[in-house]
């Protein structure tokens, strides 16, 4: 696939819409499975979903995807059109979920600009077999022959709008259609249908264009022949015929009445059709639509209005909008705090600038709010995880979800789905006991996992609580001790510190690797992912009662609270969450190791020092410790001290990424992005995690 194509709005729209459909489809499966059947609405919806995927994918030339969708559409067509049809519900759900998984993978490929090349053969076979069995079991195997022989009698087509016979002339015409125009028979039918107003009588060949799709082949091979009797002028008829869509060629000339008679003789049948037969299925379809329409009239009102009031916006545009609002806030500060203006002490100016400040901060809040997305989609995905896990492990677990309407920034949502999935898998795999054990313990047969989200200040808490066997303090302690992760005695540690050990890299409570939660990925990855978005993980547990894991995540990533510092002419911003403290050291606290690396002792612990001017090769006057300032930073329990010239102060900054050109050059170590300061200058945001930190506590 060509990369230049990737940016096209079409592709974007395709991926967006198809992903949404797939997600909704998956939810629909999980819900339907709970009630053990597909509701009428669900059947209609699935049919429409597959129809949409089929069409869109075909347009994008993702043929495999389109074909699979077509097959499933066929299944649901049969189910929809034949009330009371018997079908194997659970196999069908499995089939569709398998297709859902396939689509997800292909969509990721498409999104990444790769060719969706997943092999659907076995899946398509499965779906095909299902369709065949479905038809057979319900005696729906229509023999195509039947319909063909029936229609063969309908050989002829007359139109007699008026009886003005005298001045009528005879014409013959041969129409050929352009290659690939598709459904030539219906195109021919369109010609006939609309010529009515111009002619007294028309006979055509092939004549069975209405019901026999094989007439397509004949039209393709021999063209579509018409014999016309009309009082309209030759020119008029020619003009009409020339307007035929996808016309390749038209032979049109006046004919002898005898020729017309002959043509007529070939098709002797005298039956006159006033109207064209509508195949049964489509009639029924229309009726269904009608009934449905009447039934749901009031409901429709609501749905139409809601769909109209929501628009989808490209995230890039939102990012841009937020950038601009960030600019506005800065510009506003530049104007209203301009020292020369402030000195004048103009009352009306102060009033106006206060008003401006109020509006711009409200605007900023609003833009932030626009970027917020409810957690519901992410939470809904967990139902599928629970379904698959409980099936494989034959455990009975119910997932309860609360607070799914809680909103967090779009960027953050993307980062929490995987950790959440992992925690829930862990809970089902290792947390919740099997049925026997639960009964023996006097617990209810069915395990429960509660997934809850709620706001707490500028954070969102996501709580995952299971009623399983809980964490074994003693075991965790022993293991951590044996691994050399801790040196204290168990009495010196509080419960939470012990539970926290499971987040430690390299710590895995369960030695055996199971298919689901094993895979070498432990809770440490969860913790790391959550910390990468500025969040934290809290673990709590009561033995044999269950485990609770709380993810504390910030509402947004786009704005951070930062400490601005100065080194020579350069300014840097350190996320406040990483800053432990800052202080002016005295030279005597500095220690040098044999490699001449400098360190500092603070409260008996030894911290490595990174001199920013040296690290980045910057010019500055401030090179000795006593005139500069040390900032102690920490990430993941590892720390170091950064030497800067001076602190400029703390403020909220809008995070921007470095220009691509620079990122392409070099991933500059320790730089996480940049931001604009109040005076319009640029400050570089430090990514503390990339500095040479040392695990101070271990020493």
């Amino acid at each position: 696939m060509n990369n230049s194509y990737i940016d096209e709005p079409m592709l974007e729209a395709y991926v967006y819409e198809t992903s949404q459909i797939i997600e909704t489809l998956e939810q629909l499966m999980i819900q339907s499975e709970k009630i053990g059947t597909f509701s009428v609405d669900a059947i209609n919806e699935i049919f429409r979903f597959m129809h949409t995927i089929k069409g869109s994918s075909a347009m994008m030339m993702f043929n495999e995807i389109s074909t699979l969708a077509h097959k499933i559409e066929d299944i649901f067509y049969v189910i929809r059109e034949n009330q009371g049809v018997r079908y194997d519900f659970s196999t069908l759900v499995d089939c569709i979920l398998e297709s859902v998984d396939y689509y997800k993978i292909e969509l990721i490929k498409i999104r990444n600009g790769e060719t969706p090349d997943g092999d659907t053969a076995s899946l398509t076979d499965k779906v095909n077999d299902y369709l065949e069995i479905l038809k057979e079991d319900n005696g729906l195997k229509k023999t195509k022959k039947e319909t063909e022989t029936k229609t063969e009698k309908d050989q002829k087509y007359y139109i007699r709008p008026s009886k003005k016979e005298d001045s009528a002339k005879y014409y013959k015409a041969k129409i050929t259609f352009k290659k690939d125009c598709e459904m030539e028979n219906i195109r021919a039918y369109t010609v006939i249908h609309n010529i009515v107003e111009l002619v007294e009588e028309v006979i055509y060949k092939p004549s069975d264009i209405i019901d026999n799709d094989q007439s397509i082949d004949e039209i393709r091979a021999n063209g579509f022949l018409l014999a016309i009797r009309s009082t309209s002028s030759e020119e008029e008829i020619r003009k009409y015929l020339e307007k035929t869509v996808f016309l390749e060629s038209l032979d049109f000339e006046e004919a002898e009445p005898d020729w017309f008679k002959e043509f007529e003789v070939i098709y002797q049948d005298q039956e006159i059709h006033e109207d064209i037969k509508i195949p049964e299925t489509s009639k029924k379809y229309i009726e269904n639509q009608k009934v449905k329409k009447e039934k749901e009239d009031s409901k429709q009102e609501v749905t139409t209005t809601t769909t109209q009031s929501i628009i989808s916006v490209n995230v890039d545009k939102l990012d841009m909008l937020m950038d601009m609002v960030g600019e506005l806030v800065i510009a506003e500060a530049m104007v209203s705090q301009n020292p020369e203006v402030v000195r004048l002490e103009i009352e009306s100016f102060d009033k106006a600038s206060r008003q401006l400040h109020k509006i711009s901060s409200e605007l900023q809040d609003m833009v932030m709010a626009i970027r917020m997305v409810a957690l519901s989609t992410t939470f809904m995905k967990m139902h599928r995880i629970v379904r698959d896990m409980t099936r494989k492990l034959s455990k009975d677990v119910v997932l309860e979800v609360y607070g799914e309407e809680t909103e967090v920034d779009k960027n953050i949502i993307e980062k929490i789905a995987d950790p959440l999935m992992h925690i829930i898998r862990n809970a089902i795999d290792h947390g919740i006991e099997d049925e026997k054990e639960r009964i023996a313990k006097g617990k209810s047969k069915q395990g429960s996992i509660i997934l809850e989200a709620k706001n707490s200040g500028s954070d969102v808490l996501i709580i995952i609580k299971d009623d399983g066997k809980g964490l074994d303090k003693q075991k965790i302690y022993e293991k951590a001790y044996n691994l050399g992760l801790i040196y204290q005695s168990i009495e010196d540690m509080n419960d939470k510190d012990i539970y926290r050990l499971i987040l430690h890299p390299g710590f895995s409570m369960k030695e055996q690797v199971t298919e689901f939660s094993g895979r070498g990925v432990g809770m440490d990855v969860v913790a790391k992912n959550i910390e990468s978005i500025g969040g934290s993980v809290i673990v709590d547990s009561v033995i044999s009662k269950g485990t609770t894991i709380i993810l504390k995540i910030p509402l947004t990533l786009a704005i951070i609270e930062g400490m601005n510092i100065k080194v020579g002419e350069s300014r840097f911003t350190i996320p406040i969450a990483s800053v432990k403290e800052s202080f002016r050291p005295s030279n005597k606290e500095i220690i040098r190791d044999p490699d001449d690396r400098e360190m500092i002792m603070v409260r008996g612990l030894c911290y490595p020092i990174v001199k920013l001017y040296e690290h980045y090769g910057l010019q500055t006057e401030v090179k000795n410790y006593e005139s500069g300032i040390l900032i102690m930073v920490e990430e993941d329990d590892r720390s170091c001290c950064l030497l800067a010239d001076e602190l400029l102060g703390q403020q909220q900054v809008v995070v921007k990424s470095l220009p691509n050109y620079i990122k392409r050059y070099k991933q500059v170590k320790g730089l996480g992005g940049c931001t604009l300061l109040g005076d319009g200058s640029i400050s570089l945001i430090l990514d503390v995690g990339e500095f040479e930190l040392s695990n101070v506590h271990e020493k």
Partner: protein, 165 residues
Amino acid sequence: MNEDMNGFFEDQEEDTQKGKFLTFSLGEESYGIDIMYVTEIIGIQPITVVPELPNFVKGIINLRGKIIAVMDARLKFNKAPKEYNDRTCIIVIDIAQLSIGIIVDAVAEVINISDDNIVPPPNLNSGGRKYIKSVGKSDNSVILILDCEKLLDEQEIDELKSSND
């Protein structure tokens, strides 16, 4: 597989800007940039240094809230650096979805050079040679037309990267 779809949405605007070049000077020499790439021209402004980059990448600037990288054309072409003054300009070009500013001594004008006045570059000895796509003639002067793609060439970036490491 999507080859024929690419033709679908081809841009049709390109033609109007054909043959137009923005000319600027570096010392005695006149250079030209295909106007197609140029998004704007701004005066020199404070540049924020980004550490660990090659010397010709001067840093980043704030272009009305958009952060873009700037390179010094003199240094890029291995010419002696010159102090910036009020004639110094930053030409902002947009290429392959990258925006970058190019610092030049002074911007001259926009001229038309017809195709028959454009010839392949001779073997110049200056360091900027490999960034010259062709040579254009306008009145009595010779314009060295820059190859913008090469100016931002990734391969070259990779070379630099490895030599820096």
